[in-house]
Symmetry: C2
Subunit: 776 residues, 2 copies
């Protein structure tokens, strides 16, 4: 069922176009509310540094790039809130990734007196260029970070534009100023990672360079151009390689460190500026294309620190302005910070002139769109991308789709990205989840890309035999575990992705594709074991693999970063069918309760890094569980969803550095919080449906990309009133347990009346349940 | 004195426009006469494979790329004539370099049955993919090479266009055909050389790939595109890295070798074609820019093996047709092969679309010229570049100059190339000898480049303080040995280069530059020791460094690849001044004789690789001696020059594989032979003067780039008639010991009448000696 989209805002009653938000005089602005430190403790893997919305540059402090104090996993974003020192400020960071890379082009200010070129031991003060710091002298806002470096007294400030980062360093009066630039450091910096690097001082004082690394992505190349507000009085370029197979002939400087250029695999530079009357500004542009690209990107965003900071603040105010929130201060901070974290990736990766380096390591030019990369698709297809369809312009969403299609066109394998960053494929996680991202965008009416080319790319990706057992999947209707690891997870995720292909093919009138993929979308049944009631891995002979332990979590097991408890619920396209297979509503609710209430006291998952945020066998710190609390509503028990959401929100999100129970995963953990706080969640991207949970904010206005407003109000919201009493859409009672994307886009009001006791009848009728939407 | 250039060919008497060469019915054509095997034995370091004139691709067999049998020095061109096996056929080779690199993209045909992926030990038959071969089954002509691989019976043929190489492999009937493609091999292939490489099979069956190496040039990148005449039935891509610091996540093939792509540092591929009814053709294009460049270069030269071979044969016939030779067969073969070797470098390096990768590792576009690289300038400024001004079109010579200027514009140091290949600077050897190349071209009237920009680049290069002690040289008038190694050689070479700057500045009317560099050109005097009569290294305090041994040759000594004997003669701009300093003609002749007649029996130069071809302390196998035999003529004893030239030609050049007494050095050794055989030599490039030696051919016609002909005739040439009796230019007796470039360009005839006894009066008067030309 689809509600016709309303055409003319002028014809709407006032509450349909959305009332202006009430005065919230006492509340700080959204910009001021965001706390970039949330997620920088625990295993959230957020970074506190400066970044513009979807910016290519993430300029942020690294407390340890050497994994000396803790694991490299724990330093995936460079900064850990409980580390005692800052090693330096580098220009690229993932927001909440479960794996580490980046940390490119590390800069650290020093006093020339006593300057060091090695980072030193964080446990030994003054053993290197790193410095101790105190959170009391630290400040962070969207696009701005500042800290006082305790060992030197230098005040360090960072800001960032789309393709530039700007440092501002205030040195103690009378002290000669120095910078160290370390191209040896990287996040997870094992031996051999740096394939090549170079530094070159241009006659006009601009410092350019590049680095090629063999990391999470192979042979990743990054250029930079760095301009200084003061004249470099002396420079020292060093290559600290100890084992050099071949230095070749020596340049004009024959090992002197004042050469105009240095190349090698272990470069470090010292730049001396003398005593300065003003703070030193260092403006840095990045490019994945070439040196000219970096220089052009630098020129494309003119202005000094204050100008870039102001422009980025405006950009953040605009971006965060997509949602006006009225809520208690802790929840307001949690949700605005979550919205902030959801607006970082996929990030711009193409140059200002449109050129970008793709999965083939070759340079291409984007025509009519801006190339974005850092697609953590296994995570973000769930809620992050659906959220961006509501809070970002269609052009940005079309950029994502065009970037995916363009990447596929030059992919050595001819398929859409799996887990791509900086244009390079990493083959991380499973599925072909670019497919639901594209289908969801298309089915929501987002224009600006070639839908048929997109569908062709989706089909090619789903049909690419060598990938993840697809040859076997196509032949057998499931991925056999004796041919391919993590077969149970792959089978259910492929089947869902297939369903989104079918949906888009139907909409495009390409019936042959629709029929084929509708059939494939039922393949989840082939891996479901009726006897145990779990999704399980089957062998090529059709038998389920034994022994079977639904609580076992191991890499390369039957499942991907999870076990049978989490994966048995992954049928977004047919949760109704799953409930029937489980034995009906009562059995399904019982199983959900068994999952949440599971006694883990005898289990140890410490070997599995991503397994965090456990509520029984519900694991909120990783994505396969994210939709599960909403499944009570499919089984006719929406009040149980409401209870579980309160339980999750209270235990998994806090407005503190350790406030994320797991990796933010490029915004997915945060997008869950934003949706859930608003009162609904996209369990099935591609359906156009949001399942109603319960709101955690008193009021919210979505200032939609189409100019309309959709307002959510939670009357009577208190901790005690944790249930939905009544729901009204545009003034009329809403009997169903979901709303549609078109209803939101039309503008209007969704008003909840909260209650202390559950309403056990609301949205329990078959036709009012969410699964009624998916056509099964 | 300069003879005014004659304007109109129509107005000339017949002998001035040049008579048609006499019928030489019995002599094979120039093309057929060239023997590419000359220089492939001994230490000539030539390669026998297929190359077009100045071609980017040098497709040639490598007998050993692993330095297993002999030194890497000995395998600088990949092929040694006395090696027993061929490892494979690779696409890039230096012609006669003293250092090794290249050997990119090695291909070897095999039978699928028993195919191997390791090269194996050349001493153990069938231990790898290499094969034994016999010279009896080998054939080589310009642009064509063929051999039968004894171990497999495969007939291998190679040809090359400008940016393509084509292989043709005839497999034994009924045998399944296979190719190994080894990206691990390289000429001098030490551990760590390969920074990165990739292979990718495109859907249309084209194989593309790249390799980045840290070799003689750092971080050199080369892409290739390879197309096959038959369908690849199966392929296997392997990465044989043993210590992989980080493999990252696995691609769709998870280690299967049939992936569409492989990346890493030790790639090898096997391609299987099944049994073939026809020979297999493999067409390969290179690009220093990117993959698209390689594909476009492949498309830019259409046609199969026979078409490319025919086109390149035509190109060679045209290029070799610059000189028509009448001579005894051995001399004719020596000289035509020398001419062939002089037409290989500097070679095309820009792509067909004009793009090229420069010393800054960035991609640029050539506007109005074709970018060339492989500038072995310390060698080639002497005779190779002057020869090319006579035998190649002005456009080619302008390409060289434009390539030098363009390289300087993007050079990290802002100076002209020193020893550049594949666009990258190697900092090999000394001096700034791009300067005389440009000055010589300009002063010879070659157009097509910005002369003032060229002069600016020349001055910038000569003034670049950090390079080779130039700061000290500018301050003191000599390079002090306690500040900079090889100071004596540097001082005299800088002074000569400076003189060419002054010459060009005068011609351009830039008097300030002319005056400054005329002064600098006298700096050779500052390093000349009157007491010993040698050029010697001085210390900063002005004293000559002791101990002093004029026969000592060591790397990093007072001299560069030589000693006081060779370097004391390097004053091309003022040989008359040198002779006066030496004490006059008699003393100079005595010293020259002492050099040639030196008893080396107690000396051992085996530690100095480039020191070869010794006649006393005259070392023809290396460049500093090359002009020395002509210096007798400056001292009023031209008949002694004539004697020495006969001695050198007889002992240093043979039409056999070991026929070069030293590295050909990108054509310099060969250009010496061409000039000397014709009867004159450019002792002082930039002077427009050729010093007359004596001819070694009965007749020669230079078919000049301007359409005119200049004919050399040696009447009565026999081994006994080793002296010049009479010399006539255009029918009139020539009293001077030199001719000018303008006289040659005007067309005409230089007729020698050879004699058994020396003429001790000819060209001995002050005004008839060569040095009278240089203005000193």
């Amino acid at each position: 069922m689809r509600i016709p989209r309303l055409r003319a805002a002028a014809a709407l009653p006032l509450f349909l176009v959305g009332a202006a938000p009430p005065q919230e005089a006492s509340a700080p602005s959204a910009y001021e509310t965001v706390d970039p430190f949330i997620g920088t403790g625990g295993e959230g893997h957020s970074f506190p540094g400066a970044v513009a919305p979807f910016g290519m540059v993430q300029l942020s402090p690294d407390t340890d790039a050497t994994c000396e104090i803790r694991t490299c996993y724990g330093h995936a974003a460079g900064y850990r809130h409980d580390d005692p020192t800052i090693q330096g400020f580098s220009h690229t960071h993932f927001s909440g990734a479960g794996h580490s890379d980046l940390g490119d082009v590390l800069v650290m200010p020093q006093l020339t007196a006593g300057a060091k070129l090695e980072p030193g031991d964080p446990r030994v003060p003054n053993s290197g260029y790193r410095s101790r710091f105190s959170h009391a002298q630290e400040e962070a806002h969207p696009g701005y970070y500042a800290v006082t470096l305790a060992d030197t007294g230098i005040r360090a400030e960072l800001t960032a534009g789309t393709r530039v980062g700007v440092h501002r360093y205030g040195f103690p009066a009378g002290q000669a100023a120095s910078l160290v630039l370390d191209l040896r450091t990287s996040l997870y910096n094992y031996p051999g990672k740096i394939l090549w690097s170079s530094l070159r001082l241009l006659p006009d004082g601009t410092l350019v360079g590049m680095r090629e690394t063999r990391g999470w992505a192979p042979a990743r190349k990054l250029w930079f151009a760095m301009r200084f507000s003061e004249t470099i009085k002396a420079h020292s370029f060093l290559n600290r390689e100890e084992k050099v197979a071949y230095r070749g002939f020596q340049g004009p400087f024959r090992g002197r460190s004042d050469a105009a250029e240095v190349q090698g695999r272990a470069l470090v530079a010292q730049l001396d500026f003398g005593a300065l009357a003003r703070p030193l500004e260092v403006k840095v542009a990045l490019s994945g294309v070439d040196q000219a690209g970096a220089l052009a990107n630098l020129a494309a965003e003119p202005g000094g620190f204050d100008a870039i900071r102001a422009a980025t603040r405006s950009a953040w105010e605009k971006s965060l302005g997509a949602v006006d929130l009225t809520a208690e201060a802790p929840m307001r901070k949690t949700v605005y910070t979550a919205l902030y974290h959801s607006l970082l990736a996929p990030s711009v990766y193409g140059d200002a002139d449109g050129r970008w380096r793709g999965p083939d390591d070759q340079v291409h030019r984007a025509e009519g769109f801006t190339f974005h990369s850092t697609f953590s698709l296994w995570d973000t297809f769930r809620a992050e991308h659906p959220l961006l369809t509501l809070v970002q312009p269609a052009t940005r969403n079309a950029d994502f789709v065009n970037s995916l299609i363009a990447s596929r066109q030059v992919s050595p394998d001819g398929i859409l990205p799996i887990w791509q960053f900086h244009g390079r494929e990493t083959w991380t996680m499973i599925g072909y989840h670019a497919v639901p991202v594209i289908a969801d965008a298309y089915l929501k009416g987002i224009k600006g890309f070639d839908a048929n080319a997109a569908l062709d790319a989706m089909v090619a990706s789903a049909d690419y035999g060598p990938y993840g057992g697809l040859d076997e999947y196509k032949k057998r209707g499931f991925v056999p575990i004796d041919k391919e690891p993590e077969a149970a997870s792959k089978t259910v995720e492929y089947a869902y992705d297939d369903w989104t292909i079918a949906r888009m093919a139907r909409a495009l009138g390409r019936t042959d594709i629709a029929l084929r993929f509708e059939k494939r979308s039922a393949n989840w049944r082939n891996t479901f074991d009726r006897r145990t009631g779990f999704v399980r891995a089957r062998k090529a002979d059709g038998s389920f693999r034994t022994p079977f332990d639904p609580t076992a979590i191991n890499y390369g097991s039957d499942y991907t970063e999870g076990n049978a408890w989490q994966y048995s619920w992954f049928v977004p396209q047919d949760q109704g069918g799953l409930i029937r297979l489980l034995g009906g509503d009562r059995a399904a609710v019982k199983k959900l309760d068994a999952m949440f209430d599971y006694d883990n006291s005898r289990l140890d998952y410490s070997h599995a890094e991503d397994i965090a945020g456990l509520i029984g066998q519900y694991i909120h710190g990783n994505e396969p569980s994210h939709h599960v609390a909403y499944l009570y509503s499919y089984a006719g028990a929406p009040w149980r969803t409401q209870e579980r959401l309160a339980q999750i929100m209270a235990s998994q999100y806090k407005p503190t550095p350790d406030g994320l129970s797991g990796n933010d995963d490029l915004g997915q953990m945060s997008a869950w919080a934003v949706f859930t706080a608003l009162g609904f969640y996209p369990v099935t991207p591609g359906s156009g449906q949001y399942v109603i949970g319960r709101p955690f904010v008193e009021a919210a206005t979505l200032n939609l990309p189409n100019g309309r407003r959709f307002r959510i109000v939670a009357d009577g919201l208190t901790p005690a009133n944790r249930y939905i009493g009544q729901v009204a859409l545009n003034g009329r009672p809403l009997a169903r347990g979901y709303i549609t994307h078109d209803e939101i886009l039309a503008g209007g009001e969704l008003r909840f009346t909260m209650a202390a006791n559950p309403d056990r009848r609301w949205a329990t009728g078959r036709n009012n349940r969410p699964y009624s939407m998916t056509g099964y």
